[in-house]
Symmetry: C3
Subunit: 176 residues, 3 copies
């Protein structure tokens, strides 16, 4: 079963064509590095509008059946940054550990890591994770949390992700 | 004054008798190790139903007058895992530090610790804490957070817990 | 432009004159140590009443135009401790990283740090941060989070804070 993974770039400027989206492609590159099993990217580049972000997340989960959706951008304190609010609005249950670990990880590099409001949550049988906006920070955060993602999808009866274990080591407890 | 402590095992299978509840007894063992003052366990084994969990937590706090209620199970991302949602629904005020520290502690052992959605909160003058489902993880988490529990109950005018200080060191600041 | 910073001491006893407010002045001392650019304190000493705290926070942000508001007190588990609830009620968006880092920092000193329910959030273009009640803990927490505050205000088009870099090093990423 090919896993479908949604990748949503949330950026007024990238969506308006003011500059090129480099964050979405950075996520695709990382996932290609990580995953040895088949997967398919479903990408979107949208403006920092809460309604639009919610609608896009619902579409990727409910229609496109993405088992995993990652966002990039819109998690800071600027007025237009509303990705966490949109994420919380569409999720049934929240996963606070992702945001905590990503901030702890980013704090190793910059003290402004605490300004990131990124979170994660579950909508139906899908996991939605907010990532930062910058490619370097995206990779740092993904490296930290991705080892837990395959088992999370297992627990939600999602696709079985296999990884390039020299790049990332997914952890699956022996017995539930 | 004998402290009453509620212990709620949340598990479809244990409550249906498919297997024996080992998590509730593991909590009782840990509390017996920790506490030198008198305490009484009030135990429940229930299914992963949000309404039922809420009703049980309310009963243990409001009728049974448990100063502390700990739950085990139902904090992961599986569809039936709704213990944190039930906990939040019955609490007046949340205590995010417990979940943060338990996840940080568990991360020393397994990267999937971030999948645990455990939280804690206050209902009236009682403290409710979600623990993991597995006995080993229960003890790791309790060892991390229990040093703060006696003072928490003090601040809520609850029973004065005394501990076996060679096992666990409760911390009570000298002056408020 | 002189930055206005609101400082709210939340304490039944200090507001009733039972004892002197030492926490508000401790915050002023720390900010004087940190800031080399002009700033003006707007201080309030109020009781632990949720409505009153909310009203005071709204006044300091909406009428007084404080770019930053810090509170002290009312973040524990005691019955009258409702500062985090008041903060969340007046904020549009929450900043979970501040509370996480302050608790992690305080845990280096006392295991009861997890009892602190402090949070932070944004109301319009202002940042509101809950600090602990005791002067020593206030300084420990401010030292930990303040390096991120100037850039946070930059991102919200607030006043440009300059710091005494031998005391505290604000971090501003080179490029957004």
């Amino acid at each position: 079963m090919t896993a479908k993974i949604g990748i949503v770039t949330v950026s007024d400027r990238a969506s308006a064509g003011v500059y090129e989206d480099i964050s979405g492609p950075a996520i695709i590159d990382s996932l290609n590095d990580y995953l040895s099993s088949a997967w398919q990217a479903v990408t979107r580049v949208i403006a920092d509008e809460q309604d639009l972000i919610e609608q896009t997340l619902r579409e990727l989960v409910d229609q496109e059946k993405c088992a995993l959706v990652v966002t990039t951008g819109g998690t800071g304190p600027a007025k237009r940054d509303v990705t966490p609010e949109a994420t919380e609005a569409v999720c049934d249950r929240m996963m606070p550990g992702f945001g905590e670990l990503m901030r702890t990880e980013s704090l190793k590099y910059v003290p402004t890591a605490i300004l990131s409001r990124q979170t994660a949550g579950l909508r139906g049988q899908s996991l939605i994770i907010n990532l930062p906006g910058k490619p370097k920070a995206i990779r740092q955060c993904l490296d930290a949390v991705f080892p837990a993602v395959p088992y999370c999808l297992d627990l939600m009866d999602g696709p079985y992700l296999e990884c390039n274990e020299d790049v990332i080591k997914p952890f699956r407890p022996k017995a539930k």
